[in-house]
């Protein structure tokens, strides 16, 4: 099946296996930040943005990106590095395996929600699992990131 889409800002046309999970397709395109952490659509590690919305690439079929814009961590390096800095500063990364998916969903949350409460943050990020930590340091980092963003916007 022939599809046309945008990957990290670059228009592409490709002949694809339509039912192939998007995770594997994107990895074959060199987007190695996109990973599988589970086989049950639960862990959030494979999160990418399709037309700005966070989706599980393990559950999205490649045919479904036809005509759409796909963003992976590779296309959001500056924002990802900034959020990664906050996570590192709070000691939130241990093995770090879940970080790409978490950062993608933090970016999606920041774009979708205005000034989210702690409950809203927890609810938005509930689909991102970390098996090293108890999420406390991540939440500290996210709150600090959001607070600094707000301060910068108001300045």
């Amino acid at each position: 099946m022939k599809i046309s889409y945008t990957l990290n800002g670059r228009a592409r046309t490709d002949e694809v296996d339509p039912a192939r999970p998007l995770t594997e397709y994107l990895r074959a395109q060199g987007c190695l930040s996109v990973k599988r952490g589970c086989e049950t659509s639960n862990c959030g590690l494979c999160t990418v943005l399709v037309d700005g919305r966070p989706v599980l690439s393990c559950t999205t079929l490649t045919a479904r990106i036809n005509g759409k814009s796909v963003l992976t961590l590779e296309g959001l390096e500056d924002r990802a590095a900034e959020i990664g800095g906050y996570l590192a500063a709070q000691g939130a990364e241990q093995c770090g395996f879940c970080s790409p998916g978490l950062i993608m969903n933090i970016i999606a949350m920041t774009d979708e929600l205005t000034d989210p409460t702690e409950d809203e943050i927890r609810e938005y990020l509930a689909g991102n699992l970390c098996r090293c930590t108890g999420y406390v340091s991540q939440l500290r980092a996210i709150r600090q990131y959001l607070a600094d963003r707000k301060e910068a916007e108001q300045a």
Binding site: A19, G44, T47, L56, A63, N128
Partner: protein
Amino acid sequence: MFTTQQYVVASSLDEAYALNQKPRATVLGGCGWLKMGRRAIGTAIDLSALGLDRIEEFDDRFELGAMVTLRQIETSEALAAAFGPCLRESVRHIVGVQFRNCATIGGSIWGRFGFSDPLTCLTALGASVRLHHAGLVPLSEFIRMDYDRDLLVAVVLPKAGQRAVYLTHRATQTDFPVLAAAVCRRADGTYCAAVGARPQRAALVEDTEGLLAGGVTDASARAFADFAADRLTFSSNLRGSAEFRRHLCRVLVRRAAIQLEEGQA
């Protein structure tokens, strides 16, 4: 993961319906459940080019196209204005935002999964499904039907002044519910409850005895909850025993009725 021999992005409902008459054909929703199996699909039918991804409001009803995602339902201001927070409550605990941006209402309802949150809530609200061949079928009937080769086009939700409260008990955040319950008050003052994850498919219990007709009090809510719990069957699985579920039914139906009365719908 499933496999496919042929993948067709359908250009019309008639084409999708005709393709679906093949024995090994499968209509694709968001694939969240389908991907968990190893089904060998002959023809995979993709409905995403048919404009079924919209929530449409009419004078007397909403129509949720089969490809509307659970996240669209969760964030729809029009649905919240008409029915309060119950629909949002029925989907917001399902895995995570990313999953809910994938999962479709068509896939969720067609599957008639026992654990389904939206199936329970929509049944209480008196929704129907629009099937391409069979036409409009009340969800309370559709739940009991066997799987066939028809095509779910939309979920039709009447705007009839009904209000519902939806509650679940979960062992942990984002897990399937141990029990799901919705209590609905219709504009004519009658009540019903839908109870799902028993763990069988949701079932509807009408307040045929008029237990809530004189108003919702702690005593009448308790009586209706007992009425529902005594009429439904419950089974055991790894998430809970039949006895625990029957107890939860008494608790959640009572609480939902009281919250309905307190205006939390």
